[in-house]
Amino acid sequence: MMSLPGTLAMPSANPERQWHRFSPRVLLDPSARRAVIAVAAVCIFWQLGATSRGWLGFSLPVIGAIPAPDAVAAAWVKLIHDPGYWQSWEQSFLRVALGFAAATSVGVPFGLALATNSTFRGFAFPVFELLRPIPPLAWVPAAIIFWPTQELSIDFVIFLGGFYTMVLNVLGGAETIDARLIQAARSMGASRWNIFRRLILPGVLPSIGVGMEVAIGITWEVVVAAEMISGGGSGSATSSSGGLGFFIWNSYVGGSYPNIIVGMISIGIAGYLSSAVVRRCVARLTPWLRRPR
């Protein structure tokens, strides 16, 4: 299931399946080469479209209104030396990390409790199902009112974004555990606790992994929107420390359009990096899935 270069090498058990570490040679790999070609093609298309007024005489719709890649690159180079830009990264990353950690550490036990205790499920599941359709962003105004600080209200909204996904995945995962495995464990003398620890828990790990991979994507979606709506939280006094979402909004308000694109691409990169980290952790937690079947 893993396709990233440089993934942790397995201990000696299976040496022929070690993943090669990153090296320039990786560019000879067909899938890496295709990725590079695709990104380059998008950039060329974007450059041509954005500068269409110059060589066509008129501006192409939509794409003609976007700042060109060279302008964006120039803006980006300037921003690299701006500590405020990096503070935005830091701020958003911290919020995502906090919200994601909270969603996982609350969502997993909650999902397990729903899956294993029918009384608890009877009480909690209807409430959960009533709250779940409410989009996290609809909580923003309420969250600002009932959380003492703006920062906590943003964290809370991010938490909600990941929480529902985690719970549903854990619940679904627990239901797919084969009843025969549990019967087999019982016939070998496993106690309820042993069945929970040695069967249910590892049995839902793959679903926890899927939940984490989906949740990290959702938390990035939510953090950006929450920062835009709330005006960047506690850091909003200084223009560029309210997180990447606020950075984009602020660039829009201030009319620096290339910076909008820089912010967007930054979020793309940030999201990709966090997904890669999560995927790696998940692969490490579920080694039996990585082996050939």
Binding site: R180, L181, Q183, A185, R186, M188, G189, R198, P287, R291
Partner: protein, 281 residues
């Protein structure tokens, strides 16, 4: 004829007396097992054949303690597992089940799977359990697969791991529910010889459900043909082919004779069951 094991084997005598089990799915009271009595001496390989859905598995589940009986009793070595005062047998490692499609834990290596029973029962610590598992796996021809996951093995090898995982608990009875159903004919014959080899070493009582008549005759001391639902022994065949057996017996005239007799008995029940349109199970 049963000489090989019975001498050193004093455990695993199973007595099913007048067992009755009703199923009541949607108010439709279905009699799954009806006044079924069967005595299996310690160290016997008892093969149970019968049409699909006849209730063989229900009987096995009652012995294992997964389902209770509505009346009747099951006794193991003189101890009542379930009877009038207790409808559901306690689930215990003296009667380990090996399932149709396998129930190895995919997230544990084969060695960890085998070592599972002694560890959860706290009979051995982890290191001792792993050592014992290692030894048993080597005995069963599974050396080299200890650190692989079950998903990396063929289904034949998986079934072998599973039987070793059952045997490490030193069960009185091994309950096998069509363990080789999904295997191709070649793997099956290898598995049969491996199972017999294990049996000759341990002498464990085996209660083995199957649809495969050749398998039943090749392995069993006795073959019990069950009636179509409700399930009860229709006819019991003594397989008077001496153990230890090898695949040569398949071509012996006695084997063909027995096959013809048993097949006639089974076909009659299968036709009844087919007419009822029973589902597999």
């Amino acid at each position: 004829m049963m000489s090989v094991s019975v001498e050193f084997r004093r455990r695993g005598a199973l007595e099913i007396a007048d067992a009755v089990k009703l199923y009541d799915p949607d108010g439709a009271r279905i009699l799954a097992v009806d006044h079924c009595s069967l005595t299996i001496p310690a160290g016997e390989i008892c093969m149970v054949v019968g049409p699909s859905g006849c209730g063989k598995t229900t009987l096995l589940n009652a012995i294992a303690g997964f389902h209770g009986l509505d009346s009747g009793a099951i006794t193991l070595d003189g101890t009542i597992l379930c009877g009038p005062s207790q409808r559901l047998a306690p689930i215990g490692s003296d009667r380990v089940v090996v399932f149709q499609n396998g129930a190895l834990f995919p997230w544990k290596t084969n060695l960890e799977n085998v070592a599972f029973g002694p560890i959860v029962q706290k009979r051995l610590n982890k290191k001792q359990a792993h050592e014992k598992a290692w030894r048993l796996m080597a005995d069963a021809g599974l050396a080299g697969y200890e650190h692989k996951y079950p998903g990396e093995l063929s289904s034949g090898l998986q079934r072998r791991v599973e039987i070793v995982r059952a045997l490490i608990n030193d069960p009185a009875v091994l309950l096998l529910d069509e363990p080789y159903r999904a295997l191709d004919a070649l793997s099956k014959s290898v598995m049969h010889e491996a199972l017999l080899e294990t049996y000759y070493r341990t002498g464990v009582t085996i209660f083995f459900i199957t649809h495969d008549l050749e398998e039943a005759i090749f392995l069993g001391h006795r073959v019990v043909v069950m009636t179509s639902r409700p399930c009860r022994p229709k006819q019991i065949f003594e397989i008077d082919i001496p153990h230890p057996r090898d695949y040569g017996v398949l071509t012996s005239p006695r084997f063909r004779e027995l096959a013809a007799e048993i097949s006639a008995a089974v076909d009659e029940e299968a036709a009844k069951s087919f007419a009822l349109g029973e589902k597999e199970g």
